[in-house]
Symmetry: C2
Amino acid sequence: MATSTQTPVRFGIIGCADIARKLCRAIDLAPNAVLSAVASRSLEKAASFARANNCSTEVKIYGSYEGVIEDPTIDAIYLPLPTSLHVKWALKVAQSKKHLLMEKPVAMNVQKFDEIAKACEENGVQFMDGTMWVHHPRNAKMREFLDDTELFGQLKRIHTYFSFASGDDFLKNDIRVKPDLDGLGSLGDTGWYCIRAILWAADYELPKTVTALPGPVLNEAGVILSCGASLHWEDGKVATLHCSFLESLTMDITATGTKGTLHVHDFVIPFQENEASFSTGAKCFFNDLVTGWTPLPSEHTVITDLPQEVRMVREFSCLVGDIKNGAKPESKWPIISRKTQIILDAVKTSIEKDLTPVTVEW
Amino acid sequence: MATSTQTPVRFGIIGCADIARKLCRAIDLAPNAVLSAVASRSLEKAASFARANNCSTEVKIYGSYEGVIEDPTIDAIYLPLPTSLHVKWALKVAQSKKHLLMEKPVAMNVQKFDEIAKACEENGVQFMDGTMWVHHPRNAKMREFLDDTELFGQLKRIHTYFSFASGDDFLKNDIRVKPDLDGLGSLGDTGWYCIRAILWAADYELPKTVTALPGPVLNEAGVILSCGASLHWEDGKVATLHCSFLESLTMDITATGTKGTLHVHDFVIPFQENEASFSTGAKCFFNDLVTGWTPLPSEHTVITDLPQEVRMVREFSCLVGDIKNGAKPESKWPIISRKTQIILDAVKTSIEKDLTPVTVEW
């Protein structure tokens, strides 16, 4: 986490998506951020969003995205628009020298993302995607375990799974099933998190090949509703992921090393806001008669004073503050967004090519 | 469970494998079974095994497998020999009209298993493989959840994983890494359980195709040390499995339905002998602001008076008792052994054929 003290970063929100309600609250709770403006394509919708979310009367209401982008008092934009609109608006944001916190998936493909990342770099603005769970303090604790050569050993295998049972209305009307909006479907939505979790566990080392698993489910418009993939690294590490809109809410990471195993069952959205748990087995084996385990795996709970999305806003705002004080943008964040998008693209390509393995290139 | 009252079934054990110690105790603890004889290729080894396991002085000691097979006072044989020896000795057991409780994997391939099953059927003896976990009362409780259309819905996905970190001595010397002994390696050992768990969750409906995953690890002799596979059913169900001798002790089933999710982390050998747990999520979803789950998943613990291997011996002995009273052998057990072996063969074939999908035929 960056650590500079600073005046609060002034945020504008573009678009009134459901997820924006959560970020509206997060910006309010973050000690170094303040919501300054809300923009929608209609003034009425923006005003209604501000009222519904108890925004201060000082928050400006814009009836166009351009309005907030051109507002010189705004430092940073939170952009939760549908994926297909990301490039257009992200470029305008960057070109107006505003820092960009953008919802995932970052783009329809890595070429599009590269346009965004280039614009941010050229304009000296911070880019971060809206993957909240990596900011939870639980994550640092899980990382400690994975890095522990004595208890966890060498990483060998990762399995991640994120599904939710979306229901008929969602499957008919949600932007995440529309090819011209969030056209990457469940791969772009829940799959994004699975891929990020795999890369996180692998210390962001890219696999060599990605192969989609048999049985992807696509809707009539060709949008992925459910799919799986297998990833394979040169050193023998393997991973599987499964993402879906068609199965009960499930949110797993299993990471296995030569000595230890990590399990977490709510990695994207912890069961409860103020605490989150994970379990570890370290050097477990069968007892002598193979009638039980010794030692037993153990459960670890991490309390957090601030919800993970608030910590994300705080981290982003710290970086923005540092830039105001002369620092350069932190390149780690666009790099891990890009890596995630590269794997996402590879899964999609493998599905399109009848499940043939796709070689991953940076 | 069969329910006849009976005189105890008299067991002979062929071979003094490590696992035989556990069964020796299980036969002792089962209310309807008694250990009558122990056989090894050397009289001294058999006697030493009997002493080490505190067998009663009434237990006969045989210095040859034939001795116990030909003993007319023995009702049933527990056969934990290496897989490659199963056919030879299982046929002799069946032909001498003795019931057969045999360790997994049941055979080197399904054709070999069919010889065993045919011999058992022709001689009217019960066959059961040594998969213990399905006899744990936890299993019946988990089954209830999977069958609950209101809480679990329709099964969509299964993931199973069983690995243990075997160590250098095992990887050099254990019979499970020797092509001429337990030549199916980790697929035959830990993979057997993963496959059985998938079939169990799917109500023993066979998948349409089986495809091995990238990255199988074989030793110099060509024995599988670690591999994965993807299974696909005609109705869209999918499953993945991973089995290994190279990763930390991990033992997972995740089964996901349209409404519910089941997790268990010690499905083969429960953490503790007298109780076992699993967790279920039913109709879970995000709360309004997507900052938590509602309702939360719940944990269920099942107490057992008898360890799972004792319940296996009891069930097997009940069936033998029923046969003594005129019933026919229970065909369910050889059928699920055969299904498990068919999938095991398909994974092996897919690995041998460069990960091409293998069509499953009964």
